[in-house]
Symmetry: C2
Subunit: 650 residues, 2 copies
């Protein structure tokens, strides 16, 4: 039996717990103000105003994007996760008011979308390619599940089930139904969540329909477009291809990850759920190949995906430009969610390795240390001189922004952090998997008995993890501990007794089966060396370069520590590093320094742009900080990859 993600986990550590508090105490209130247009200087959101107008409580046209509603949904979902950890009357009151407002805005037939209700009444479901109605619906369904699970209050669940019932009626293969699907996948995975909570199989079936129907010929978006044209609607010429909407081919026929990266991975996550629920081997095979293509050929070392600024898309195998990286924060979140689903099916540490790579790097970089500003785009290198000045470099990459007009990333990263506990463990009736090392506590029924497992660790700065088991009575089960790919050597002790982890490792997990007793302990000590990471030789942008990684954390150089012209810097193949935890730097980070850097000797440089000589080189002291923490000090250059100075024979 597959282990299933354990949702009720409380995080108690130095790294994530403060970030969860930040989400609760700063981000959620801040975002609520943003939704209510109360933040001076930020682009107005209009989200709550739209709902009030749709509820008939004020006169106004719709403000913002067609997917503006989803900002409220993501906020509400975050609130749900926050309340799962700890009820909070004041916050719940806010959320209940928002839920009441959502309920008042909902049509009697269950339909709910303020854009259509205000701007195009009666035209609902005529442009599912562009207008995100089901995308918004999906986010509300996720929110409803989270909020219900936190509070047990049925109202928001009722609202969303009513909307889901409407969608189930409208879409499907039956006569009078529309064989359509949303241009932005999301509802696929959301309907599965709603099914898992309510047991209503219709939700699962409709999700499966969406997954299977998508990309078939005749293409629904073409059919729909023709219908709009017949109805006399003017449509602008659209440069976006069907892959952008994940409608270029049925998912089972896709070999490579194409199109808009967020849409792609949201679909793949939903399809993974469907493969799981239906035990659908061919669908699982398709999803697996897409995963392999993504992580083996189209993912940054930071776990960022969707390298192209042009339509926020996957581009080509090994096309991962550093300065021009798009690598949207939402795409990293989607990748983590997708990997998490595959992990439940296969329990292979490779999925958790990628989740972790994303989590500590290209995803976490999306939010500032103070929780008040956000990156959409997560480049691996910036040169401020040209950033935002040349058309081919995505702009605004030097500083995180307070809130975006198109505000997908800020609430998305908030809900990810708030729900992080769910990603740590999985369990079935006789196994408990530890996927992520995060100080936390979980109580779970295993083998018919309540077992409490707690982790203590200074991860990601230290590879030592202490696990303590509490059981009602001695219980036989397996604890499976992930051995991360970054770890070359680990020591394992059970109640002080040394065990060779390699002997009992299965798909990257050390499995310890025994009769566990109250007070049993496991000590896992993963050697956390500084590693110089090289890329596959086809990854041209990293040719001849190394990335500095320690544990799951990818490092970067910033100008404020290393001066400018970081392309001139070299790091020796055999570089030594001095590491130190600095509690007052960047909210506490483990900093790496090396004296094995090199730079061009200034005195050997002339005014000549090209010379037929070798410049002199001088040693340079370099300092590396975690990539996720970049751009929290002064503006300047940043680079993840550093040129390797090859020393000793290869």
């Amino acid at each position: 039996m597959n282990p299933v993600s354990v949702p009720q986990v409380s995080i108690k550590d130095e790294f994530w717990a403060p970030r969860q508090s930040l989400v609760r105490d700063v981000v959620v209130p801040y975002q609520w103000e943003a939704l209510n247009d109360l933040i001076p200087g930020a682009e107005p959101s209009g989200t709550i105003a739209n709902f009030r107008a749709a509820a008939g409580e004020r006169e106004a046209s719709h403000h913002g994007f067609v997917f503006q509603d989803s900002d409220l949904a993501k906020w509400l979902e975050t609130v749900g996760f926050v309340l799962q950890a700890k009820r909070d009357e004041a916050l719940e009151k806010l959320a209940d008011e928002a839920i009441d407002l959502i309920g008042r805005a909902q049509q009697s037939d269950g339909y709910l979308d303020t854009y259509y209700q205000l701007q195009k009444p009666g035209e609902q479901w005529t442009n599912v390619r562009d207008d995100h109605e089901m995308y918004n619906a999906g986010h509300f369904m996720e929110a409803a599940v989270a909020y219900y699970e936190a509070t047990g209050k049925p109202k928001v669940l009722d609202i969303l089930c009513k909307f889901a019932n409407h969608i189930v009626d409208v879409f499907g293969p039956g006569e009078g139904q529309k064989p359509g699907y949303c241009g932005h996948p999301e509802i696929e995975l959301a309907l599965v969540k709603l099914y898992r909570l309510t047991g209503n199989v219709a939700y699962l079936e409709t999700s499966k329909f969406f997954v299977d129907e998508r990309g078939k010929e005749p293409n629904y978006f073409d059919v729909e477009l023709a219908r709009r044209r017949e109805a006399g609607k003017k449509e602008r010429v659209d440069r976006r291809k069907m892959a952008y909407f994940q409608a270029h081919a049925p998912i089972r026929e896709q070999q490579t990850a194409e199109g808009h990266a967020v849409r792609a991975v949201y679909l793949f996550a939903g399809a993974t759920d469907i493969a799981d629920e239906y035990d659908d081997a061919s669908l699982l095979d398709a999803v697996r190949s897409l995963w392999n293509n993504t992580v083996q050929k189209r993912m940054y070392v930071t776990g960022g995906i969707g390298s192209s600024d042009s339509f926020e898309a996957f581009s080509f195998d090994y096309d991962l430009p550093n300065e021009r990286a798009y690598a949207e924060t939402c795409a990293s979140i989607g990748l983590m969610n997708w990997g998490h689903r595959l992990l439940q099916i296969e329990a292979d540490s490779k999925y958790a390795d990628t989740m972790e790579r994303t989590l500590y790097n290209g995803l976490l970089s999306g939010i500032s240390l103070d929780g008040r500003s956000y990156f959409y785009v997560n480049p691996l290198e910036v040169w401020p001189v040209i950033s935002g000045k040349r058309d081919d470099i995505p702009g605004a990459t030097l500083r995180r922004q307070p809130w975006f007009g198109c505000a997908c990333c800020p609430p998305n990263i908030a809900r990810l952090i708030a729900s992080l506990g769910k990603y740590i463990y999985s369990a079935n009736e006789n196994e408990l998997y530890v996927h992520l090392y995060i100080g936390s506590q979980v109580t779970q029924d295993i083998g018919g008995r309540q077992v409490t497992v707690s982790q203590q660790t200074n991860y990601p700065w230290d590879g030592a993890v202490g696990i303590r088991i509490e059981t009602e009575a001695p219980t036989e089960f397996t604890i499976a501990l992930r051995l991360p790919a970054w770890c070359r050597r680990a020591q394992l002790r059970v109640n002080g007794q040394r065990i060779d982890p390699v002997l009992s490792t299965e798909r990257g997990y050390v499995k310890i089966n025994r009769e566990w007793q109250k007070g049993d302990s496991i000590e896992l000590d993963m050697e956390m060396r500084v590693e110089l990471v090289r890329s596959h030789p086809e990854l041209r942008e990293a040719a001849g370069k190394v990335a500095v990684q320690r544990g799951p954390v990818v490092y970067c150089m910033e100008e404020t520590d290393n001066g400018d012209n970081l392309r001139d810097v070299q790091l020796s193949s055999e570089a030594s590093f001095f590491g130190k935890y600095e509690p007052n730097l960047l909210n506490g980070v483990y900093v790496l320094a090396s004296d094995d850097g090199w730079r061009t000797e200034a005195s050997s440089v002339t005014d000549d742009l090209y010379v037929a000589k070798r410049y002199g080189k001088v040693p340079a002291s370099l300092r590396f900080v975690p990539y996720y923490a970049w751009a929290n000090r002064s503006e300047g250059e940043m680079s993840v990859w550093v040129r390797e100075r090859e020393t000793a024979a290869n």
Copy 2:
């Protein structure tokens, strides 16, 4: 006294003479057909048709760009140069017919511009920012001078003087005159040419006015725009900045080369002429700083300039991306022309070094070996997988195109090749400068006597140059031979007697003063080693890389010789090369091979995108061909810069 360019030079060598024949026998007839819309498959030009319509000989609206007329002008100028080398009755007949047509199209007031005459009669000179009337005029003036100098026929000169007189009347500081200047510089240098031929000082004064007035406040283009708006004209919003039009600041206040590269260097060339004619030290200083900025911070190793695809512009110091290089062929031509003018003033070899760098590399790459297809854009690296597929890589860079809708480059490179003789020598009454080593012959009055000097060389493949002097009678004068920057060691013999060239070198020229007699000979042997060229450390795109150069020729790797993934290739710092002239390859090139290349060992590569190990490396045999000759075989990757494998101590 400054030496002045010697125009009447006949080229007799293995490298350029065939290219001049190609221009005469293939390019000129081909381009004539193009101008007449007779080339199947090419975009129609409409140029001749426009003139016929303007002459009232057919009914038609104007076809093509506002600067379409200039294509005919450049063709005619090329014909002038071709006829300077050798009269040709049939070609002259074609040209005379074209000239007659131009004359019939000209208005009685001297104005001539088919776009305005056909599309906007009566509105001439209302949008000099955009509409290129004086740009076209300038090219016709250059053509008139060239054709007159070839044939002595006054007709085209009369037509253009009449047009020039009209411009002199319309533009200037006087009452009732317009204080404007053309959005695309060109007429500045053309008026100086016309002045030098006719002696009419008004042309020189108007050119000086254009140079001085440009960029002053209130900006003429704004004034003019306001006037058009007042007249009720609708103007689209324009993203181009004043720098694009070289109107952001008076040239004397400019510190860096900005804006559209072709416009910039055409202006700088004209301004250099004005500085020369008026002995204007402050203008010369300004032009010198702009030159230094260009060649020390904004020029590719190929001599390409204008790195940004966005508005075909200079971007920032040291911003010279390889794949995304724009480096328009016309900009290289402009750079060469500008350098040539500075060279006449200063006789410093640094100008000739840059001219030569451009000529043999980023300029010559603009034309295919068969003379039938052309590059606008001259990248230093291509990866066909993404070329033209990603928005940030300028398209159509893998193959030269037969003729462009916007056909500035093809006729421009033709006229450059046809007139190449003029760039080789300069002379004053007691000096003869040899700037370029090209097998050729020149006859010139020096010291009151006719002197004929002939060069024999296999340049650029061989650094040995033989010079033979013929004089009517023994004559004392100086022969100044350029010692190229690429040359580390040269041997010099006069009539077999060895001379140390270093002892008599001035600003990069060995000066040999003596009484020259008929039959005297000079042997200059410049050691032509393969050099590994490194860039200034601020040039980020070339950090850790070398370019292979031999003599003036910059080499590249092509996929057809070296396989793909050229970013994986390394070349040892101390690489040895085997060079060989291959007469049947690429119309005869000196090919370089090295066994000191390295590649990643295939067996050490896994499916992993990132690994914490060093890949194995294996030696690789590499083959380099001249950059100018790339893309004349099968499509594939190309790279000028190759990663340096640092061997031995630095």
